[in-house]
């Protein structure tokens, strides 16, 4: 089945998300769709899978124009999408999720779960997608959940599979497995659209590449003839420097000392298990690991948001195990939370208000029981300028900024004062290349000025680019440690440790 997008334009009010896009998807071929976050990849694919109606243009299947009124129409036409955020019901079983929407039924609308299980088993053997049809989704690791998503699409007899950022949640080994799956789907004659912003993967997996920037297709080509810098330039619009400038590694005294830290999640499960680590001044320690191995709890505990059940945390010789978040902040610990929208800023507050969330209570901003707003706005404008937070004014609501500018706002608030230790969770998740480079520079600058920096990230590339020392976290423990400045370490080795091979 061949699908053609012809002159597709999609507007949301005055915002143009896609402009005049032409794209052809051929059977048995992997089309790599490369673009930055916010470039319009997902919008385009949501048009193709029927979630959005295009403002202009048409979709042709085997040369015949079609109109999708909803996702149901697209599914019936043979187009299936695996969303970046999985569309699975967590409390349902695998089989229930797979059949949802086109359930096999007997008399009195009775669900035929037996047939559903059989179908799941058949598809999973046919394409090598191992999964237990009776497992509940929320108990499965993300890699397996992704397989369920693919089975879901195959169960709908899709000929075109759209995979939106499918590797974002996977370990390097899972990525290899995933590429095998994509290959076998291709061999079965399916057309695959692979959406990503990762250059290495798109070069490895695609038969053809299309690059999208600011809603438009700006280039396409053969992956065998394209190089990484060329692609990056196409994607961003200007040449990209991949290396982060850094001063020579000169660690000083231990600034953060964690001994035997144990944390439990809200549901009582152990998140961090007897973990010990140290961070020196002037050093970047990167914690690699697949999401859900206790990193979030660790960051929360270090920021003073989660009380440890055991262990001791020392900052510059002072025991801060039970110190409050504000006490830690005053000592010079900066915290860049994992989720900027949930924990980093208040969307309905203005840029200025967000900028002083940590310091409104003291001089120079407090004025008796009130706040000196004039002073706040002055200061906020200056810091926003310094940290390249692009906002129409400091009175704009933070929610209206782009993801990159929101994150720069958080970084600005946290780093624009005297800091001695920086704790950063997923500091560049979902950002564009420009913002990533800026934030990396700032983190590096903090290190070069003598701060200890602890970074938790599920992006292995980021960890490897920034860290002086790499720790791998698995099931709440540190399972491996590497010092790249002593002996170079490759991605595969770390990937194995992330998958628990070192234990």
């Amino acid at each position: 089945m061949q699908v053609e997008l012809r002159n597709i334009t999609k507007r949301f009010g005055p915002v143009v998300a896609n402009k005049d896009v032409n794209l052809t998807i051929e059977p048995g071929e992997v089309l790599g769709l490369l673009g930055e976050n916010g470039a319009g990849k997902s919008t385009l694919m949501n048009v193709l899978c029927g979630l959005y109606e295009p403002t202009e243009g048409e979709i042709l299947i085997d040369g015949r124009p079609v109109a999708f009124k909803g996702p149901g129409d697209a599914i019936r036409a043979g187009i299936g999408m695996v969303h970046q955020h999985f569309m699975l019901v967590p409390v349902f079983t695998v089989a229930e999720n797979v059949i949802l929407g086109i359930e096999p039924v007997g008399r009195f609308d009775h669900l035929d779960l037996k047939a559903a299980r059989a179908e799941v088993k058949k598809l999973s053997t046919e394409y090598g997608l191992t999964v237990d049809p009776d497992a509940t989704i929320e108990t499965l690791p993300v890699g397996v959940q992704q397989r369920v998503e693919i089975i879901k699409v195959l169960f709908r007899e899709a000929d075109v599979l759209i995979l939106d950022e499918p590797t974002a949640v996977l370990t390097p080994q899972e990525v290899d497995e995933f590429i095998q799956i994509v290959r076998s789907l291709c061999d079965a004659g399916k057309a695959i659209v692979f959406i990503t912003h990762k250059l290495n993967e798109i070069l490895e997996i695609s038969d053809r590449i299309a690059v999208i920037r600011r809603g438009e297709i700006v280039g396409s080509g053969d992956p065998k003839k394209l190089t990484r810098p060329e692609l990056a330039e196409m994607m961003v619009g200007h040449p990209v420097d991949f290396d982060v400038a850094r001063a020579p590694f000169a660690p000083k005294e231990v600034i953060l000392d964690i001994q035997g830290l144990t944390l439990v999640r809200d549901d009582g499960a152990v998140a961090v298990d007897d973990l010990s680590l140290q961070v020196h001044s002037g050093e970047v320690v990167g914690i690699a690991g697949v999401q859900g191995n206790g990193q979030s709890a660790l960051i929360e505990a270090l920021a003073g948001l989660r009380r440890p059940v055991a262990g001791k945390v020392t900052f510059d010789g002072t025991d801060i195990t039970d110190a409050s978040a504000r006490e830690r902040h005053r000592m010079g610990i900066a915290h860049i939370p994992e989720d900027r929208q949930r924990a980093g800023l208040i969307g309905n507050f203005t840029v200025a208000e967000n900028m002083v969330l940590d310091s409104y209570y003291g001089p120079p901003f407090a004025k008796g029981a009130g706040i000196n707003w004039g002073r706040v706005e002055e200061e906020a404008a200056a810091v926003a300028e310094q940290y390249d937070v692009r906002t129409p004014s400091v009175h704009a609501a933070a929610a209206h900024l782009s993801g990159g500018n929101q994150q720069k706002l958080v970084v600005a608030r946290e780093l624009s004062r005297d800091t001695r230790l920086v704790i950063a969770g997923q500091p560049t998740r979902g950002l564009d290349v420009g913002s990533i480079a800026f934030i990396h520079e700032r983190l590096m600058a903090a290190r070069d000025e003598g701060d200890g920096v602890l970074i938790v990230s599920s992006e292995l590339d980021e960890i490897m680019a920034l860290s002086d020392r790499i720790l791998v976290m698995f099931k709440g423990r540190i399972v491996a440690e590497y010092a790249p400045h002593e002996a170079p370490v490759d991605k595969g080795t770390i990937g194995l440790a992330m998958a628990g091979a070192a234990t």
Binding site: V89, D109, H110, L111
Partner: protein, 413 residues
Amino acid sequence: MTVLLDKARQRQTRITGIILLALGALIAVFLAPDASGVATFRLSRPTDVWPVPNLVVPGGAFIYVASAFLAFFGVRLFLRGGAKWSARLLGIGLIIAVAAFLVWATAGKSFSFTGMLQASLVRAVPIALGGLAGVLSERVAVVNIGIEGMLLAGAFTGALVGSLAGGVAGLAAAVAVGGVFGFVLAALVVTYRMDQIIAGVFINLFVLGLTSYISSQVFQEYRALNNAPVFRAVEIPILSDLPVLGPVLFSQNIFVYGAFILAGLATYYLFHTRHGLRARAVGEHPRAADTLGIDVYRTRYVNVTVAGMVAGFGGAWFTLGSVGRFDEGMTGGRGFIGLAAMIFGRWHPVGALLAALVFGFADSLQQKLALLGTPIPSEFLAMAPYIATIVVVAGVVGRARAPAADGKPYVKE
């Protein structure tokens, strides 16, 4: 590590132990000295086909034994722990305490136990149907605070139409009006994305105001409009002759049978049919349902409307199934207790029904105690169902999990 977790659990168990111990002591000190003579619980009526002898309990002795059991459970939990048993022992302990209380109140008198159970079931009906309506709408993520109003609307319509056109017509009209209010709620919260709580409160206030006005202005004048026939008990052949079980389960009116049948049907619908699976998906992850071509809005409309119909049926109980006439605000918060039953029943139709039986028992218990003439003021006894609600929802339920999208409007992109 596990040691630490056990410590938290152990503390909880110890608190439970202390509560049971205190309960045992209270019973021994305050109830036992008063309970002279034997308590007679009548299980059969003289007219029964197969009569069973009365249950005769020596008052003081029973209460001391009960308090000894409570003390034993309490001490055991405190000293030995046993996390698995903690919740179960607390439940058993509460049952023993209630039994001791009942024996104390009945000591020296006699009282129809079967009659109380029968009344429990009857009084559970509006709560069960209210809870069931709650389950049906919250399973598609619409919080339905308006159940109280829907019950009241059903009660009013049942009385009015029942008076004019007979019981069956009244019942049908009550169901239809409940459905209308369900549809209105769906329209407000699904199409117009009004806050679900406010929309529900609006329905409650609107129905309360309108029915109160009509009943005070019109029904006072034309009494014939508020004089509906009452559905009589339907005796199920043979089964209704069983001792105790017969009168309690098989000699009730259609509302009691209806509550049981609807709970069964709702269970089948939600957990064994295609449309039930879709409804639950809409309540858990509406976007996922949408991407699979399931119409989220339509699903919510249909389920909330049906929930309204169930509540309308439950409302008709107040008039057509009970007294035959409408009084202002006669639902008395049963809709809200129904919501508590839904939570206690963990958003499961059968769970909600069982929870409603607990509340119904508390309700009928307070009534019988008032008749027995205990020294406790009747106003305090009347609080029993509500206190039971708070205790159950706050303490025994713990953390039940509501449908993930509950209360959140879905905005299609």
